[in-house]
């Protein structure tokens, strides 16, 4: 079929490209990126860390939640250049030396996931929540994960999963594991 096609040209204005240095899951990275590159795309496409997902594009669903300097942020609404010099942790960092993080254990033991798509973001939000409040009430848990949407579970078992992890005790969020 004849469709209008051209050779790709590529040119970008100087100040719209930056070199960033950041640590991702403990590994130092130096990358040249477009200033508009969203952190979630940097993680997924430049580093191929595809555990972090995109759900809503407008910071409502939390599927893209990662830890930046230990704080949970929505990586679909953060520019990679804003993370320059920072420590980024994704779901891929939770399991350490073949040992699951208590939050990962909780989610599978309590059936806190179904399709699994919101799960990495939900677990990272949980790690941050427990770092700040190691023994939350159900009300505090529900408020604590209210930046993350799950369409499958109805949240009942996610609450149980978080209570399970809290009972195990979790490492500080900064380590991510």
């Amino acid at each position: 079929m004849a469709i209008d096609a051209v050779e790709a040209v590529s040119s970008v204005p100087s100040h719209s490209v930056k070199v960033v240095h950041l640590t991702v899951n403990g590994v130092p990275r130096a990358s040249t990126v477009e200033a508009r590159l969203l952190l979630v795309h940097y993680l997924r496409e430049h580093l191929r860390l595809t555990g972090t997902h995109i759900g809503c594009d407008t910071s409502h669903c939390g599927a893209c939640t990662v830890l930046v300097d230990g704080k949970a942020v929505k990586s679909c609404t953060m520019l990679t250049v804003m993370a320059d010099g920072k420590d980024v942790r994704t779901v891929e960092s939770l399991e350490q030396g073949g040992k699951l993080h208590p939050v990962q254990e909780g989610f599978t033991k309590e059936h806190g996931l179904q399709c699994g798509y919101c799960t990495p973001g939900m677990m990272m939000a949980t790690v941050a929540l427990l770092a700040k409040n190691p023994h939350p009430t159900e009300e505090e848990i529900r408020r604590g994960i209210s930046g993350n949407l799950c369409r499958c579970t109805g949240y009942v078992n996610i609450v149980k999963a978080i209570q399970y992890a809290a009972a195990q005790g979790t490492a500080p969020a900064k380590g991510g594991a």
């Binding site: 079929m1 209008d4 040209v9 759900g55 179904q114 209210s146 579970t153 078992n157």
Partner: protein
């Protein structure tokens, strides 16, 4: 029976698939990454109805990274500008002259990466001539309304009329009824909004074979549709459905983006990825519901239901693309007689075109059952209120009794089994019904608003028997193919496709139980049309009723052969062998036995002379009937009189889905289903303003419940096996979504009895409650 096999039926074992999901190692569509892959983005129409005067590609083609622009004219040259829908209507892939809804695909841009593609799509310039917009389906059917589909030779916007039941008998019975209640109910348009949007990666290899990784719940049916539409030989098409981030029916239809990506791959010779953003997903993907229902039911003076009459107008958008079984344009809406023995009933549905996207059933609902259950359960409550009978008592007085099953419904269904009173009594007990009514009376005396709502629903799932159920002529069986390897390990493949239902776990449990092989030795595969047996896919709660049954039957075929091998090994006649404690034993000689692993080894190394080697079986299961899960839900709400805010205080769900394979997973399905019943009851709706602008185009306005709004669900079960399903199972995925909205709406209407309220359309917003209270003079 001795010790249970590990991971057999009835055990709450942990899910196999979790191992990858909790590590962030799922393989969802946007994780598929091929060398040289290009990215496709789509420019969409801001106008709900307009003539396209011109599409200017120049600026897009000049955008860095952009390789190509595809328009409807390009597709028309290949006869691909239009595609058929499952309801034998036609849908645009890309428009050649007219756009029919806001957000419709207008032109596609192919680029080296997704950023360039987005810039290119934003640079597409289109000259439009706005046309009159039809938003209201009632106005759409008025004389003189703009005709939306002249391309079909239509003179108006009426798509079809469908009716079932005995009109005359129903009218007669209603006339003779001592009491008749009538209500207008609008079941609003909603959107399933799985957290993963739709997308695909299309690739054509050097041999000309097309492989499409795509977010589909029905890969085999999609392959056949692609073959029919594109003319490619079906053996040259491979559909792979990777991990799916939630489906709920939204990933059954074929969306234009898939087809455009395939065209882009064919024309560029490179793999092409297309991934929707959330606004595209909300504004153009399949919707659900949008039924305008007028229903009435009658009762004798002593409160026995008599007849039911329903007239409904369905808003289908600009084309009828509902993913219904072909013979059911209104789906299974005629389950609307519900849990009650109506003597007669009559249902008619008319469908209309409007300037909205197509769809109809994509919201965790087996073909319009939610609309039916909502209508009957709302009216039963209104009838009880009108007759001053407690709604629970009224139901118990009217339910189809257990001894009446199999029960022939007034609209032609044969309910397989049920114990409706049992479920309601259990729910009443758990929630403390009588005490709550007492509390309500005291609160009312103080002017406080508290409500109790019941929904005793009857579901219909497991589509379906080949005599009546097909999609584009393909019968709605489903399949299982089991191979036992020499070492007694199992690989089984299915025609369905899990989207979170944990088929890898539950199918494994069925095989473990039926074959006597521990579940950890069983691998389950789905979703690759090159390897899995043909099946119609996963939606409408059909996997356990169809493929689950196929798993059991195929296992039993294997057992038949295995029994002969066992007899040969044990040197007795097959008649002297029994399958006991997951082993083949010589009757009366427990010591003399062979495990399935022993037999598997023999099947490849030492099988009886004259018998073919190997140990495998396939089953394509054609269900003899639908299954009819049911349950009773009770909801308690408290209402803030001044603000209209409704708080769900408690919600008890008693479900009966027959025999249960994994109780933990079934509870998870019910929790999720309840939340997707709560959401449209309280929060979610897709609306269009009079100009045809969609009012909910992002999650800022389309309100998915968070953990804060979602009630703490309380669940329980009764068990009434299906008599015709080999495992006595019924299916459960959608029961709660179907049953919950009426319980919530009934609770709110019950709370507002002091104000004489008989209906508040869902979603029940604070404003609607405030308005209902103020209409009666305020708090």
């Amino acid at each position: 029976m001795g010790e249970a096999i590990h991971g057999g039926i009835g055990q709450s074992i942990q899910r196999k698939e979790d191992a990858r999901f909790i590590r962030g190692k799922g393989n969802y569509i946007d994780d598929v990454n091929l060398p040289g892959m290009l990215f496709l983005d789509i420019a969409r129409s801001p106008y709900p109805h307009a003539t396209i005067k011109a599409i200017h590609k120049e600026k897009a083609l000049a955008t860095p990274g952009v390789l190509a622009v595809i328009t409807g004219a390009d597709l028309a040259a290949a006869k691909l500008a239009w595609m058929p829908t499952l309801m034998s209507d036609t849908q645009m892939v890309l428009p050649t002259d007219t756009v029919m809804f806001q957000g419709q695909e207008v032109a596609a841009v192919v680029a080296t990466d997704r950023y360039a593609a987005a810039d290119g799509a934003a640079a597409i310039e289109v000259d439009y001539e706005p046309l009159p917009v039809v938003v209201d389906p009632f106005k759409a059917l008025e004389p003189g309304a703009p005709v939306l589909r002249p391309d079909k030779g239509k003179k108006d916007n009426h798509i079809w009329h469908w009716e079932v039941g005995d009109k005359a008998a129903t009218e007669k019975l209603l006339k003779e009824s001592a009491v008749v209640v009538k209500e207008k109910l609008y079941i609003p348009r909603i959107h399933v909004s799985s957290i993963e949007t739709c997308g695909c990666v299309a690739q054509v290899d050097v041999m000309g074979k097309l492989t499409v990784w795509m977010t589909t719940q029905a890969p085999h049916a999609i392959r056949t549709v692609f073959a029919l539409v594109s003319g490619l030989p079906e053996n040259q098409i491979r559909i792979i459905s990777p991990d799916i981030g939630g489906g709920f029916g939204g990933k059954v239809p074929v969306y234009p983006g898939y087809v455009i990506a395939v065209v882009a791959a064919l024309t560029t010779g490179k793999p092409v990825k297309w991934i929707e953003d959330r606004t595209e997903n909300l504004t153009s993907d399949s919707f659900a519901r949008d039924y305008h229902i007028e229903a009435e039911i009658g009762a004798t003076k002593d409160g026995k239901v008599t007849a039911l009459r329903v007239k409904t107008l369905a808003d289908h958008g600009y084309t009828d693309a509902a993913a219904n079984p072909s013979k059911f344009p209104a789906g299974l809406f005629h389950i609307i007689t519900g849990s009650y023995p109506f003597k007669s009933a009559f249902v008619e549905v008319d469908a209309a075109y409007t300037n909205k996207p197509p769809g109809g059933i994509a919201y965790r609902c087996s073909f319009r059952v939610t609309e039916a259950v909502f209508a009957i359960e709302r009216l039963i409550d209104n009838l009880a209120h009108q007759m001053k009978i407690d709604p629970a008592e009224f139901r118990l007085k009217n339910f189809i009794p257990p001894e009446a099953f199999p029960f022939q419904s007034a609209l032609g269904w044969t309910y397989d089994s049920g114990n409706y009173a049992g479920a309601l009594q259990k729910a009443k007990g758990i929630i403390g019904y009588d005490a709550l009514r007492q509390e309500q009376a005291e609160k009312r005396a103080k002017g406080e608003l508290m409500g109790i709502g019941i929904s005793s629903f009857t579901e219909i799932v497991g589509a379906g028997p080949s005599k009546t159920f097909d999609i584009l002529g393909i019968k709605m069986f489903d399949s299982a193919e089991i191979r036992i390897h020499p070492t007694g390990k199992v690989l089984a493949r299915f025609g369905t496709k899990s989207q979170g239902q944990a088929h890898e776990t539950t199918y494994g449990q069925i095989l473990a139980e039926e074959l006597g092989i521990p579940v950890e030795n069983i691998s389950i595969e789905e979703g690759d049309t090159d390897t899995a047996p043909y099946g119609l896919g996963t939606y409408a709660s059909r996997s356990t009723p169809t493929a689950g049954a196929a798993a059991a039957i195929a296992s039993r075929k294997i057992r038949d052969k295995a029994q002969k091998i066992a007899a040969y090994l044990l040197e007795v006649s097959p008649d002297d062998i029994e399958w006991k404690d997951y082993k083949f034993q010589v009757k009366g000689v427990p010591g003399k036995s062979k495990t399935m692993a022993d037999i598997a080894f023999a099947a490849y190394t030492n099988h009886p002379p004259g018998m073919e080697a190997g140990l495998e079986a396939v089953d394509y299961y054609d269900p003899p009937n639908m299954t009819f899960p049911f349950g009773s839900y009770i909801c308690v709400v408290d209402i803030d009189k001044e603000t209209g805010q409704v708080k769900v205080r408690r919600f008890v769900a008693v479900d009966d889905c027959g025999n249960i394979i994994n109780p933990m997973i079934v509870d998870g399905q019910i929790h999720g289903g309840l939340t997707m019943g709560f959401a449209p009851a309280m929060m979610e709706e897709i609306q269009y303003d009079p100009q045809g602008n969609i009012r909910q185009s992002s999650f800022l306005e389309y309100l998915l419940p968070t953990a804060v709004e979602t009630p703490h669900w309380e669940t329980a079960k009764t068990t009434t096996p299906s008599p015709h399903h080999p495992l006595g199972a019924k299916g459960v995925g959608e029961s709660a979504t179907v049953g919950a909205p009426a319980a919530i709406a009934n609770a709110v209407v019950d709370a507002l009895q002091p104000y004489g309220v008989t209906n508040i359309d869902i979603p029940i917003t604070s404003y609607k409650v405030w308005q209902a209270i103020h209409a009666k003079g305020g708090p």
